[in-house]
């Protein structure tokens, strides 16, 4: 039996592992951090969708009777689990509804930023030359302005409102994605399998879409998840700075934080803490998924399903490895 026949037999014995995406998914499912992230983001999405069912009150229902005798917001009680705000609105319901704003604004902003960034980045990377220089220098100019500052400027220019926030946060994301993808496309463009595709006579567009982009997407997917986290913070930041939705009654987390500011001294700490916790949990969830994806999509871990624990395990014989600088 020749070596090739033995090898062929070995291949038949092993079960097919499926494509790289399937591999990555299998690794992701075995990563506890990513699972926690999925749980947080999952709850966030469920809350955003079913806010009207889950919330005990309407987020804009003003109940002045719920305020204390001297007109200050009151803390947690059986009627209002997280207390009421300065107008007697139920804080818990407002947090639940706030998830909608964060999720929708974040999603729209990131996906628009991602699509524009993809377009610019892949054109710059694949076409190269003067077009590349032109696009990338423009992106550099945008990157030179701090993200939140750029968003503030854009909202100031466009006027306040929901879609203006989406546009502003989206635009700040464009150069990040463009840069990332350009680098990735440049790296893939020189690969042998791209040359091979040219050698068999594939057309330029076909090569870009079936060979270069699928292999260049991994870092973009990771960045997309992390950008969701940043977008939620940016939206809250804009709201906190008074550039949130025009109607001050909108239950947006950042706006709620700002309004809580005046009542902190009178002891309404919960008004600041509860939207804060909501923001932290949502951001944490996206970050954990992003980190999990980064590990799962890392080509160096290819084919190693479920080996995360072994990597961190102690030396097999249980001996402690002496640390550097430890004297004998």
């Amino acid at each position: 039996m020749s070596v090739a026949e033995i090898e062929a037999r070995e291949i038949q014995l092993e079960a097919p592992t499926g494509g790289l995406w399937a591999d990555a998914w299998a690794r992701l499912r075995r990563n506890p951090g990513a699972l926690a992230g999925f749980f947080l983001v999952g709850s966030f999405v469920v809350i955003a969708i079913f806010a009207s069912v889950m919330a005990p009150y309407s987020p804009t229902h003003v109940d002045l009777n719920a305020l204390s005798a001297n007109g200050l917001p009151t803390g947690p009680s059986w009627q209002h689990w997280v207390g009421v705000d300065q107008l007697g609105r139920d804080e818990f319901s407002r947090i639940l509804y706030g998830a909608r704003y964060s999720l929708v604004i974040g999603l729209v902003a990131v996906s628009s930023g991602l699509s524009l960034g993809l377009l610019f980045g892949s054109v710059a990377g694949y076409v190269g030359g003067f077009v590349d220089s032109l696009i990338m220098r423009f992106m550099d100019v945008m990157l030179a302005i701090p993200g939140l500052l750029l968003a503030i400027g854009l909202v100031a220019a466009l006027g306040q409102g929901l879609w203006q926030i989406m546009v502003a946060v989206g635009i700040t994301n464009v150069p990040i994605f463009a840069r990332l993808l350009r680098g990735s496309v440049l790296a893939q463009r020189e690969q042998d399998f791209v040359l091979a595709a040219r050698a068999v006579g594939a057309r330029r567009r076909g090569i870009l879409f079936s060979h270069i982009l699928p292999n260049a997407m991994s870092p973009v997917i990771v960045q997309g998840t992390l950008a969701m986290a940043t977008a939620i913070i940016d939206v809250a930041g804009l709201g906190f700075l008074g550039l949130g939705p025009q109607d001050p009654g909108t239950p947006e987390w950042g706006t709620m934080l700002t309004q809580a500011d005046q009542y902190l001294e009178s002891g309404a700490l919960y008004l600041a803490v509860s939207p804060g916790i909501a923001i932290v949990l949502a951001v944490l969830g996206f970050n954990m998924i992003g980190d999990g994806l980064r590990e799962a999509l890392d080509p160096k871990l290819r084919g190693r399903v479920g080996k995360f624990k072994e990597a961190k395990a102690e030396p097999p014989d249980g001996r402690l490895v002496p640390e550097v600088g430890e004297s004998a």
Binding site: A4, Q12, V200, N215
Partner: protein, 360 residues
């Protein structure tokens, strides 16, 4: 196979492939060229295997890829079966690609990791619209069988295969369109020795079965000797010697070839002890700034006071079918000149500030 009566399938005349060295931030300034292939002429006959040897960085891969127009030639003619490729439009070249294919050196980089083997091998059929889905699936099955892989390999992905098996996949892809001409770009150098033999035998079997013409690039002289009918030796972007493979190994004419062959150990302790390898001084000079006149004069053990440093030697036929580019080839053959050990000579630095070798 269409034949125009010409014995040569591929004819290359004065081929140059230069890679521009650019610098600048917004507008690129052209500051020089890496002369990867510099004025090369040769021909490949129908059904033969032309071996192409030379050390790393001498431009042999670039030459092979330029033949398939994967790199744009800077100057020169590439005539494939009577048609000058450099004068054809993009769509005509695309059609002609059905007749010329390439197998790459690195079997891990040349297959798209996100495509199944069936998709990889079937891609040539798909992009040329040559087969329906079912026909393509059958053809892929046949091709995999031809190169010695199980039919169920089609549903698997490249990372599930070993190096030798991946090279078989690459070969199946190259054969999908029934080409006449295949450039094998160091197809075995990345493989274990035991696997190398199998792949080379496969190349030979396929050549007989499908009447293929090969340009077989390698840096392993033994491999090239085994598979080639004729061998071309390349040094720093130029061809220095072309000969039938037997003659090249028995009576090399160019000093570079002589040095290369003298470095091969002989598996006989008696003979081996008497062997006096000619060691070449220094490294391959930079192709961005090659030595003037004869490119080998900075390292040549036979270098002479006259001609070598001021006159570029042309490839001339010394014996039937055996050409060499050396002014002193006759004297060297006659034993009038003796090799001498020499120190490395530094190439005069001309206009090259901050040049870095291009990524290979």
């Amino acid at each position: 196979m269409s034949t125009n009566g010409n014995a040569n399938l591929v004819e290359v005349e004065g081929l140059k492939v230069y890679f521009p060295i650019k610098s600048g931030i917004v507008l690129d300034r052209h500051v020089g060229d890496v002369k990867a292939v510099d004025d090369v002429s040769f021909e490949i006959r129908r059904g033969e295997t032309l071996g192409l040897v030379g050390e790393s960085g001498c431009g042999k891969s670039t030459l092979g890829r330029a033949l398939l127009l994967l790199y744009k030639p800077t100057a020169g003619r590439i005539v494939f079966d009577g048609q000058d490729l450099t004068k054809l439009g993009a769509e005509e070249v695309r059609t002609l690609r059905q007749r010329m294919q390439i197998v790459f050196q690195d079997p891990f980089a040349s297959l798209n990791p996100r495509h199944s083997v069936g998709r990889i091998v079937g891609e040539p059929l798909r992009v040329h619209g040559l087969a329906t889905r079912r026909e393509a699936a059958n053809r892929v099955r046949d091709l995999l069988e031809t190169v010695g892989l199980p039919a169920d390999a089609a549903t698997r992905y490249p990372h599930e295969f070993s190096g030798g098996q991946r090279q078989r996949i690459g070969l199946a892809r190259a054969l999908a369109l029934n080409p006449d001409f295949v450039v094998a770009d160091e197809p075995v150098s990345a493989l274990d020795v035991s696997i190398q033999a199998q792949i080379i035998n496969l190349f030979e079997e396929l050549q007989t079965e499908f009447n293929l013409t090969y340009l077989f690039i390698a840096h392993d002289l033994a491999v090239v000797r085994h598979i080639s009918d004729r061998v071309a030796v390349m040094y720093l972007g130029v061809i220095v010697e072309v000969s039938p493979s037997g003659a090249l190994y028995d009576s090399p004419l160019h000093p570079y070839t002589i040095s290369l062959l003298s470095a091969i150990p002989i598996p006989d302790p008696e003979v081996e002890r008497a062997r006096k390898p000619i060691l070449l001084a220094g490294d391959l000079p930079s192709p961005a700034n090659p030595p003037a006149a004869c490119r080998f004069h900075t390292r040549c053990p036979f270098v002479q006071e006259t001609r070598c440093r001021d006159e570029a030697p042309l490839l001339r036929e010394l014996e039937p079918g055996h050409s060499v580019a050396c002014h002193w080839a006759e004297q060297i053959r006659a034993g009038e000149l003796k090799p001498k050990q020499r120190a490395a000579e530094v190439v005069e630095q001309v206009q090259q500030a901050g040049w870095e070798p291009p990524p290979t």
